[in-house]
Symmetry: C2
């Protein structure tokens, strides 16, 4: 299961057994860079398989998750999502009401995001050959109309080499903004699945973020974005640090973490920074524009709790957490998300 959990074990497995076999020539943002989406001939393109268990949980379901996750992957690289595809794999005999409920939720989330379902495919596997239902969504997008101006603003303050909001684009001095509370999706799912009872207080944060991201891009100065899904915030910051070749320091006291999430994580013995989110975006921004970008994000329903959590620095080469009691520790990339089948 570690091979699919989104951490370092998975990166190694994917590199040696999957990507090594695949031709990926001629792309602007290629497969090998392992960004959230690829860019080929001006088209932004991404895919995500969803095997979440259970199919329905507090705050969302496999339908809303599938649309939000895929729309967000297009948006965080600087794309405007144009259309979604939906491939369903269904277990023979699955209650049709479950199919209807999941598809209705998928449709509602697509409408909220303003992205049509363009094409699809349905396969049925015999009972026992698949656990209920898998939804694989892909999406295509075009470059956001605000991207050129966004990068132009950034380039007033420092040299900007990236043309898309890729993982390798953060530099010394850039400010890191998180759009809201961490850990909610993973804790809600785990708690509900295992019957711990925290779900009355913690709900999944699933949300399509293309609207929020547009508000940030309109201000300008954003150089990288990523949604901290599998492996959580710890994985996102470590990917940026490694691919950009820069350290990132984070103030633990600034992390937006609710008490119910903190308590549940303590009791379950898992780090809320290593657990997946499905409605959050991490933004790397030139320092001079950070306050304006933050303000714009707070004006959007999905960015109300946005906050500055740290900054990139050449003092370190890793992700360093300044703890609430005055110490510091390295925030490692998790080996994988502690919660299996989270998405």
């Amino acid at each position: 299961m570690g091979h699919g959990a989104g951490g370092e074990t998975m990166q190694e497995f994917i590199a040696s057994h999957i990507i090594s076999h695949m031709p990926d020539a001629g792309m602007t943002v290629p497969l090998r860079s392992l960004d959230d989406a690829a860019v080929v001939d001006g088209i932004v393109f991404t895919t995500d398989g969803h095997t979440v268990k259970p199919l329905f949980f507090p705050g969302g379901d496999i339908g809303s998750l599938s649309v939000a996750g895929t729309v967000n992957d297009i948006a965080v690289i600087g794309g405007d999502p144009l259309a979604l595809s939906c491939a369903l794999i269904i277990e023979e005999g699955l209650d049709l009401n479950m199919v209807d409920r999941a598809m209705a939720s998928l449709g509602r989330t697509a409408k909220e995001a303003g992205v049509p379902i363009a094409t699809g495919d349905t396969k049925v596997m015999e009972a026992g050959a698949i656990d209920q239902m898998i939804v694989v969504t892909s999406a295509v997008g075009k470059r956001s109309p605000h991207m050129d101006q966004n990068l132009e603003v950034a380039s007033k303050y420092r040299t900007v080499n990236n043309t898309w909001l890729t993982d390798d684009s953060t530099r010394d001095g850039d400010v890191i903004i998180l759009s809201g509370n961490v850990g909610e999706h993973g804790i809600a799912l785990l708690s509900f699945r295992e019957g711990y009872g925290f779900e009355s207080e913690v709900r999944s944060d699933i949300a399509p973020l293309n609207g929020l991201i547009t508000e940030a891009l309109k201000i300008g100065g954003v150089v990288a974005m990523k949604d901290p899904t599998r492996g959580g915030l710890a994985n996102t910051l470590n990917e940026w640090s490694q691919k950009s070749g820069v350290g990132i320091e984070v103030e633990e006291s600034s992390l937006p973490l609710t008490d119910p999430v903190r308590n549940a994580a303590d009791l379950l013995g898992i780090d809320p920074l290593s657990i997946g989110n499905e409605g959050k975006v991490v933004v790397s921004c030139v320092a001079e524009m950070a306050e304006d970008v933050l303000k714009a994000m707070r004006g959007h329903q999905y960015g109300k709790n946005a906050t500055i959590i740290g900054r990139a620095t050449s003092k370190y080469r890793q992700v360093v957490l300044h703890t609430e009691i005055g110490g510091k520790r390295i925030l490692e990339a998790p080996m994988g998300d502690p919660v299996p089948r989270i998405c």
Copy 2:
């Protein structure tokens, strides 16, 4: 299982429980038309889930199948495939050699088609929650550079209203060409799976057809194309007949059917016209250009056995088979493909 078999039962299931929930506004070729691919803002887009069993079989495997099926769906509507995505769902504990072999085959087929793998996703499910491996491929493409001239040629001979090679574009008098032998994929798979032993003589026909299709478009006069996958040739011709509102008559004696496929189908009690193919294309063409298109197709390695099998006619409203003994019968749309998990 009938809900996933590609026939009429499936069409009804998809319409009422899936598509009814999905927003699909603003597209040139929308979801509701159930064509092989959608067109949105000039981008051709398609997706296919592959649950084939077993993963490896005579003539192909889940890797080659995934690429060929998706590339073909882009090409048959008049698109030039630009990039593929690949979402893997893998059973925990699956032999890594199987992953490597399938991915190597997938990579080879993508190279042959000249289409890069742009983006991907990998999920692992616990043992028992998934049967070995599922591969979901999506593809994006642009309009083929030969499409405008192709339709211009067609419009010399009759009014042409379609701008893409959609299922509703065949008219009275158009000639139907099939690119080669029917039934090989389904028979090879069923025979191998069940141990009937025909696989020494019948191999799957899996092939990426974008090269062959380009040769036909270069000649011009093609108004519709479709790859006869689930539900086979019978399903393809019936979809065309229904969506185009025209009858299609087929000469049984003209159907390219090898003796091993015929014998195996007889013994297994299945109709080779209702069984899936993965390396064939059916072409609808204005009559005046049919011989030239046929000749161009025969010049390509995947069209060597191409042949004219019939023509569209307003004399009928259905698909009518002129039998070898001089009678005629209606070729119905199958309720589903007789072979489950064929792709």
